[in-house]
Symmetry: D2
Subunit: 150 residues, 4 copies
């Protein structure tokens, strides 16, 4: 692929009137369609319906959406153990195992593996609601302080 | 924090009229504001201006946006070595080191560490444009095939 | 710390008569003390006793040993789903949450999250045998081919 | 592969007289053969010769050795910025891209990406000495405190 095409690949998708969108619209775009099914100490389970606006160029759920949900649903699991705030992300990782298509329902389960004095570690798993097959699994490490203290 | 509050944290941000947004809007929302500065074999450099709509609840760049850019700019680096397509994400990881605030300019550099017959590994670094300080660094592993072959 | 001290930190621990040790001694050093408790499809559970020879400079289990066990016990989980060989490591990651001291017994549980045509993903968790507290959790991604095909 | 064979795969390599080996022998086994070439602020470069005792079952450098070197050489990079101690490992990840065979010389370069008040992030790259080809790249996140404070 020639360099001009790479440039177009990166820049062409940007033709939205984004400046009219409100503050923190990104997070709201993703969370729209999330429904909480269970919250207990160290565990959160949600249902998420894949919206067409969250697909990638190959028409399945964008890997960036999955990574963002590892961040957001994992952070909620920190709250379940009584922490007053969820801290700052230090590391997020995700393994992708299967594709999720438009209108599929996904179950997202976050588990708090460790919530200590300074560090919390969360595991977040994404499964197809109808078969239980794993779509992705991620881990999220947070530092329980302000960003300026990192 | 009580369970009802955790539930509100997860569900309340979802009150957008998202169903009116077009197909693959997520990717366009993020790519809006990305400008390609350099493309050469195995390397892509972009400038990215942090938009208020991409902030998190603490008013700095959302970690999910950073992870999505590891995906997208890393994928562009696969193209620079002549691969006909960029493959399927197997693993994405990101270390977060500093906050980027609204209207800050970020330099994003993607390097192809390895593009082989079946696997590509990309490194993506985010730096403050004015000081060079590293904001985040991620790695992206792709399988150079169709999702159904994974 | 001055540069000479950093150099000593790196080089001084190397005063063993290592050239007399047999081929692949490293793996045998770690596996010594591992006992398999359960093997079923997609799952392996082992008990591991922390030996003094595997401690780090702070006298708890060396993080490199944990990472090696993510590799080895994870690979065994690939076999349990009937794969004829366990493939080549593409990515290993580990989150460390607690220290394990000399003579402690650890339970190691490996789960095959995905074993597909080309890629396998394994999760490996380390828990204190007597309390169930999580010491570490890792993920191991393998490409099911020969290294020359990567 | 039947379950008995998986069990043998895991347990059979353990027939060493390991109890006779000294305290912290593991670290010394790996560091033997490491030579420091350059130490400057935020950067350490070493040469490492692959010993037959560090090979895996396929006769190339064991992935667990690479992960351990991400830990150890990365930790040395923390010292170069003047930190009084190197902290506790929070996360280690490694991408494997090529095999290194017995007696090959490897260059290992560790860079301190961030050394803050509470968190340090190090990048460690492994290259073939004669061609510069990347063998592996890892990242190491440390918490700059005692394990009991995590």
């Amino acid at each position: 692929m020639d360099m001009e095409t790479v440039k177009e690949y990166l820049e062409n998708s940007a033709n939205i009137d984004g400046d009219e969108l409100p503050l923190r619209f990104f997070e709201r775009l993703i969370m729209h369609g999330l429904r909480v099914d269970l919250i207990e100490t160290s565990r959160v389970i949600c249902t998420f319906k894949v919206s067409p606006r969250l697909l990638n160029g190959s028409n399945y759920l964008h890997g960036g959406v999955t990574a963002t949900l590892v961040d957001l649903v994992g952070s909620a699991a920190v709250y379940t153990v009584g922490a007053p705030f969820t801290g700052v992300s230090v590391e997020i990782n995700v393994s992708y195992m299967d594709a999720a298509y438009a209108d599929e329902e996904i179950e997202i389960e976050a588990r708090a593996l460790h919530v200590g004095k300074a560090v919390a570690v969360l595991s977040v798993e994404f499964r197809k609601k109808n078969t239980g097959k794993i779509i992705a699994q991620g881990r999220h490490t947070k530092h329980l302080s302000l960003p300026s203290k990192m």
